[in-house]
Symmetry: D3
Subunit: 330 residues, 6 copies
């Protein structure tokens, strides 16, 4: 059986797969777990990241205000399901005021490496690029250099150095509603200078896997397993009425993560429920974080729904890996 390499998390949110359900990922029965107006100023809360912290959980949340201004907020939870989100956005410290200057911030990820929590997000700097910061306590945040030139989105760190280097997936873009997008792998000795960029994977052009034919982007922090890095990502198709965002899965080589070992031609989850199909942007499921328990292989995925609310879904490493290998189209 496939094994997650990492720590145990026995009390993480969990529900068993419903009887007779035949998809590899199933929804939490009380979804959405975070409503659009969970803090007074918010129009919508979605595309957000969580991580184990102390006895419970911490997170960084995308809250669009009622001005539809996009920013990221810290929050805390005892059980990973019920969240208390700060009413003010994160303030960053750092060396250079030019980098600290806020244009807009959205779609955060959180990654623990070595001794601290790193935050990456889509950061406005003459166009969207990848903001990087770290925190020890989710109260004080220290912002580093942007990782890349604009335009880029969906910067996702690996949870440990690979070949002695920090490693990040990202998805170069344009500065609008980008109708294209490949995933790349980049390396850094110091989280300041990035290079040795490698192409990982492209949208699939053609009918065989059309749900991911317009663009793809990495989702949660890759999960280390004995089969390789388990990557949950989003894929987009262009219909005559706009984009539909779905969720897919791939397995990357453990030492050379730009090499795709397996990639499922089927989506693992798609907008079926009312709260995923109706909202500010209809027909979107967008995963940004996952909790894992190495002892049981359980995975809890946090995902944005219709760009409006936040949902929770469950799977196991064994489920995802078997599904991906059986439906591999790599």
């Amino acid at each position: 059986m496939s094994k997650i390499i990492g720590k145990g998390l026995p009390d993480m949110p969990w529900q068993e797969k419903p009887e007779g359900y035949d998809m590899p990922v199933w929804r939490y029965s009380q979804n959405p777990i975070i409503q659009r107006n969970a803090i007074p100023s918010s129009n919508s809360i979605f595309n957000s990241a969580v991580i184990p912290y102390k006895q419970g959980y911490a997170g960084v949340f995308r809250c669009d205000s009622k001005a539809v201004s996009m920013d990221i907020y810290a929050g805390f939870s005892d059980d990973g399901v019920h969240w208390k989100i700060n009413e003010n956005p994160i303030q960053f410290d750092g060396e250079d005021p030019e980098i600290l200057n806020r244009e807009y911030r959205y779609d955060p990820r959180v990654c623990f490496i070595e001794d601290r929590y790193y935050i990456t997000w889509c950061n406005g700097y003459h166009g969207p690029t990848i903001g990087v910061a770290y925190t020890f306590d989710f109260e004080k945040f220290y912002q580093l250099e942007n990782a890349f030139l604009p335009c880029n989105r969906n910067g996702v760190l690996f949870p440990r150095k690979i070949d002695g280097k920090f490693a990040m997936l990202s998805r170069p873009s344009d500065n609008g509603h980008t109708p294209f997008g490949d995933i790349y792998y980049s390396q850094s000795p110091d989280l300041e200078y990035w290079g040795h960029h490698r192409h990982v994977m492209s949208p699939y052009k053609g009918d065989e896997s059309a749900w991911q034919s317009t663009k793809i982007g990495p989702g949660p922090i890759p999960i280390e397993t004995d089969e390789g890095w388990l990557l949950i990502y989003h894929g987009v198709i262009t219909t005559c009425n706009g984009f539909v965002y779905r969720m897919g899965c791939a397995i990357l080589d453990i030492d050379q993560p730009w090499k795709v070992k397996y990639r499922s031609k089927y989506y693992i989850m798609a907008p079926y429920e009312q709260y995923e199909c109706v909202g500010d942007v209809p027909n979107v499921v967008f995963p940004c974080a996952a909790l894992t328990d190495a002892d049981t292989g359980r995975i809890a995925i946090y995902y944005g729904c219709a760009d409006t609310v936040t949902g929770l879904a469950f799977t196991t490493a064994e489920d995802l890996i078997q599904f991906t290998k059986q439906n591999n189209m790599n």
Copy 2:
């Protein structure tokens, strides 16, 4: 406390703000008040205007037929909530057959000035422009010259002359689904010849108030208050799945209404409810009329929902003015 300058309307539709509700505008609990097929020929009834008339209310309604042909219809109500809409569209008399020729008509407003009711609407004349007519009884309608050259939409009269001139807000456009749009102020000695055009306000380009970043347009007849003209308007953002129409508020100078005194960076209402999010055009709230009671400051807003049905919402002059001043970004 802010005061509406005008007449009392003690029996106007009204519900108190729900307990614990923290937005400045709240919905009528029996929304939508007009269903899509309220007359036999209609596909949808929305973006419509009402006004006190005799002991009750009269209105001009946009009814798209089951051919999806757009026209405007008169209707009457005792209580402002239950409406009897004529089954045939308004017929206009007038001097010049070229002007009377109907291409299409939609998005009406109604304004009482001095001794009669003026109707303005989006009128097809080799492209959309602002049609103008008057009636004394909502039975006979007399059509004047179009106010402007094409292409223009959302022509909204002020309820009295300003500096001795009739005054109108409008939103120049293209002849498609216009991806831009500012509000302008124009003046006329006679409702025939228009000039002295002044720029009022633009969409807000940037994250600070992104809900109104694509285009804006005036909604109901401006409401005269001791703080200035209270303008409820619509603002539009472009998502990857199309436009979202929301409702905002500004306060214009009483004598020089092209000068914006306050403008809220937050929307005052947005598509949250099923009947606003799902319909022929998802995610639209579009205000076209307001009833006011000077004695209490109560305001009842009539708005189109998803380009399909008509909704009713409530606020007060005090609520809106305080909200706008506190969140001013002018």
Copy 3:
């Protein structure tokens, strides 16, 4: 009273028109009759065709997989309402491997002519074109040449030869989300070579019948009546948030079917219900098949809903023909 020319089908699915309902087509009360995941691999089942077969019914179904790959599947039913769809797509035999090569297949129609069942569908061959095949038993399918060069969609056969030739309606297109489209009539001595193409009808440019202003396409196999060929078709309008697909009706000359005798300016059905307004492509009703009973004039229409599920609706030849003649705008 208008009469269908054809066979009786006394046990076909049927419900009487609801009391007080004033549209010419009414929905089945248990809609949708086929859910999105009615077979294990499916993301959605819609835009599908059925036909009487032996003691019951057979059909060809568009099932998009959970890779959102588009293919067509055979299925069977005793009552026309409850369907058993094969879990594997149709395999075609034929002469030329180049033609048999599958790129993608969607939006099938089924037509019985003389001694066998013909299938037409949108077939990928360096762009979409019209695939043609026949079967005697819905188990073995023999694929003929594509009827036309790319790009074309919605190829619909007539149920008998006309003037000694096979006859087909189609809708030339581009290879994207085609923003235009007329219906044409083409003839063939042998189903291999096609010619004598005739223009049938165009979208209606203008407000008078705006629901069909972007493009139109034929739906079910035309129904022979004593008034001419009854053609149910789809019409599309472009809103600021994408396409809306509705259903309309026309009557074509019995001997020269490229001549339109009557065409209704009103739609006969439009997306009103939740399962038609919400789904992978919101706001779509798309008819692909009809069952008819010549003895009673009853018609049962099968149609795709929001590109996600399959619905059933009822009408009669008398209803449709009277509606079309009374609202004729030809």
Copy 4:
């Protein structure tokens, strides 16, 4: 023979039609008459207007600077061929600083009415609209209100009041490279307030006169003749490599100039010469002014060439009117 109604101008620039030349308009043999850098700051001088003034001629010239900033400059000439253009742009006086504020100015026309010279031009005011000013001496210029809301271009006054009103042709547009455009007629009692807008003519959609299928716009001040107003205008076609601007002719009713009596299906001049085909915008001839001699019927047309230099061409009222009537497609 057709007659110009107006003054004599015996010394106006003139060359006889070349032997064997069969088009109705012929070029000046020393074209271009104004080079791109005729003043030190200019990148290009084109789309400019001239008029008889004192013993010679005055003009208003579009000079794009070497910053490609667009402004208008006064100039003077003894013979209408050799011009001295001021090195600084026109400064306007006027009542309202908001109107006087310069965004950009281009494509001027000059028209003498009653006692003074009126200038109209494309004036930036939150988008292009029609600026209006007058001068008595081409030294002091007094700017009036903009005639219309944005977006509009090519505002061309008539040289006398019609039915007691000032009259202007214009071409509503978008604020980019407008791919559409009709000519309209508007009226004003005072040059301040405008109304009674009438549609004059549209681009010609179809092969019969494809050179004017994208957009059209009025050129010089209309020339009064015994056949009606002689209107020289530009017409545009969209090729796969952009727009081609050509010159056409129409005759408008003398009392109701929005009624087109004749309109030639053929262009009267097109980019043939190197200086018309090569330049900052290839393939443009753009007429903005005409001198006329009522005694002989001679007409001298000033036109921009490839948005870079200024050319001069000749014709007669008789030539143009006969050509237009013989090739009428109205």
Copy 5:
């Protein structure tokens, strides 16, 4: 040495390759051979076809009028260089008035098969498609059915039946300035019904042969040689300033012409000369016809220049075939 299979034509236009010239096709030294105004009504004469006829040559010419209306005209020449073009367009006889109705006609080809001359051209019939006609004498023309449904352009017949069928190349398109386009091969037993469509070749996506990356289309009637059918075609690239049309060469299998044996990655001719780079559409060379002499292998290519004038160029079968084989990228 490669040999043309066909007749001798000893007096065809010819000039030897200039000393030191290293391209496979060289221009006639007196180009252009037909000026834009060679007939009184013409704006431009280009994209035209010629063929040996009696003792000299006949041709069908695209003459755009000074209304920029597109039609085709017959013409005659003793030497193939100096042409007398009729002043009126071709009139067609035929069976069906609907087919005979002229919308527009352009880009003709002429092909002798068995006993008569066939004309094909881009024919307007609710969009561009392939018109077909024949003549025995270039005076009376008999029009057959359109070969295909719209939209299609560049229909080019083969000069003899292949496998017992008439054969045609064509390039399906949209009805604008089509930014895509593959060449297809279609077959017919009778020139009335067409089928057995085969894909021949696509634009080349990528840097290796970028001049033909946007679209390609067949040019002159294919030339039969002992190596296969020699196909001269046009290829298009999209630059930031529009399309550039160049000329390329391929060799098709003699019995299965949809199989490309060789295709040169280099163009054989491109717009270098002033009359090819400057005109109504800059940067176009567009071949439509070729004369050949089987005895010497000489080939004379007639091509449109900048959509304005007609040029002549020379090569030999040996030159083209060697060039194509040596630079093959098939």
Copy 6:
């Protein structure tokens, strides 16, 4: 007087400014210095870079082949005017075959730093990005990692380390004909890892300097002077017939080159000459290299003309700096 900081180059190409010429940059009288077919395989040679080398000059040239494949070629010259370009493109050695894989290469720059010549160019790697290589002798070239993720163009190194880091200007783009583009400054300790990205300057939105309103990009290696880094760059405007590329000048802070000290609102050179206005892409001047003589301040600019040939132009540091300061709009 402004001084260039660097070496003398007494024999560099030079011509004095023509008498009476009033622009800051003047053309070489024998332009173009390199014809489109200067090597047998070339369609065009332009956008190329030169540098002093041994007793003469070396260069890297963009030669588009007659397949319009884009690659870069080494070449040599004794006098900087007459060039001998290799007939085969540069071959690169390097560590990683994935990086060495050639998709396309264009628009090179050459920069000497410390002990070797660095080449940067637009390198195809799943989209355009910045390729980097070095050579000691223009015979063997060693390719390093790409500097950035796609999409990027116009990577231009500084000729020395700044603040201990290698420094590069670049212009992030999309992967088409990019209608936007700012210049950025990036730093690297080792030419492998890049970071500390800084925004330098944007297109100028507005009429004041419209020639650079669409996009801008760095040209030659910045020239060190006592006033700062002298940056010659290209600016683009969008006309209705496509882009026009012109040449501008800015002065960057010597220690913090992302700070713009001066920037001229006027262009310093624009397409005026036939070989700049007519060619594969009309209306382009595109500077890629400059030779300088510190003793005299002379500058010779090499620039591409109409994407077809290569031109040479002259100026001095004093001329450019004074012009830029006097016309500063920073």
